[in-house]
Symmetry: C2
Amino acid sequence: MTLKHRAPGGASRRRGPALEEAILDAAWQVLVEHGYHGFTFEAVAARAGTSRPVLYRRWPRRDDLLLATLAKFWRLIDVPDTGSLREDAVGFLRNAGDDRAGMLTLMSVQLADYFREAGTSLTELRDTLLPPGRATAFETIVGRAVERGELPDVPRSSRVVNLPLDLLRHDMLVTMRRVPEESIAEIVDEVWLPLLGAPPG
Amino acid sequence: MTLKHRAPGGASRRRGPALEEAILDAAWQVLVEHGYHGFTFEAVAARAGTSRPVLYRRWPRRDDLLLATLAKFWRLIDVPDTGSLREDAVGFLRNAGDDRAGMLTLMSVQLADYFREAGTSLTELRDTLLPPGRATAFETIVGRAVERGELPDVPRSSRVVNLPLDLLRHDMLVTMRRVPEESIAEIVDEVWLPLLGAPPG
DNA sequence: TCCTTTGAGTACAGGGCTGTATCTAATTCC
DNA sequence: GGAATTAGATACAGCCCTGTACTCAAAGGA
């Protein structure tokens, strides 16, 4: 009665890397829809249209599958270059809060159980998945503004420089929603720019 | 072989409110130690030294038990009154990050699954458990500073006023750890006081 | 003291997930 | 075309949790 040995679309049987891709796509969907708790071999296999043994062969433990999934979907967020400090900041926060990137942040909350079990945290995961040490988005944005002469070339604490993303992330974590445009403007205009000593927008 | 019909300590059989207290204490411990995922009737009953039917009689569903547990342990955080804006702020953040209060914040992450299932969020939960509308800690702190003449009496956005707690919470959520004293000082001295236009500490 | 309430123990069917094993047949490699 | 892989289906025992039902006995009230 079921289409045996056929991928959902009726295509030929998948193998190797193609199958792996499909499984990780399915895993990501499951993770987004049902959180870490619903992220089971059972659910992922069903969603991928394959069977659990196929998953176990590649990722013996749930964490292995999780990490592989996150690694595939975790991407750097685009940093716009508009020629304006304020617009760069607002644009970046918009990107950070959009569907794709925002989902990653909200996802991180769903991973609380994983963090607890693995004894790790969001920052540690981030350092694992993204090469640490490179300039943060706001370091880039401030650097450009300094080059343009929009900001004085004085030392700034990393706390202040990176403040906007922290606040955006906080809002997302606390409301579990996309952050509205007004909050982004608030963060930039009422908090960040004044702190940097920039002229009010 | 087991001590039948006896509380763990060998005391008489517990009843009514006393039993209820003991159960909620146990529930809190389970929640702290095993997160929402491990927060099962089974585990709570075992920890409380009673049986599941006793729990089901009082809280038919898991959420009922969860809410009752949170309501019992969710408390307002003490706001110190030292006569100094900076010391009030630092002191409050210290309290907010201490074992008891900090645990509540970290707990909130563990509740991600609950939020997802119930379609709610940390802020909504907070409003449910604490009467909304009252002044926030930092509104109180700023208000006092204005009365003392330490700050000018100008309108301030609630975003700026409440910034320190947001940043503290962000740090906790992201590191899953207690926030070190230096971070508290950073938040107050490098971000908040400058924004309020207060003289540097 | 008797009676009512209710805590504590136990049992049950049911559901979901885990790992592993086994079989088959599709695909690829040579 | 034949052989080696390996996807996909299925089955299994096991574990944990859920609700509910049915006892029995302890505590408290009259």
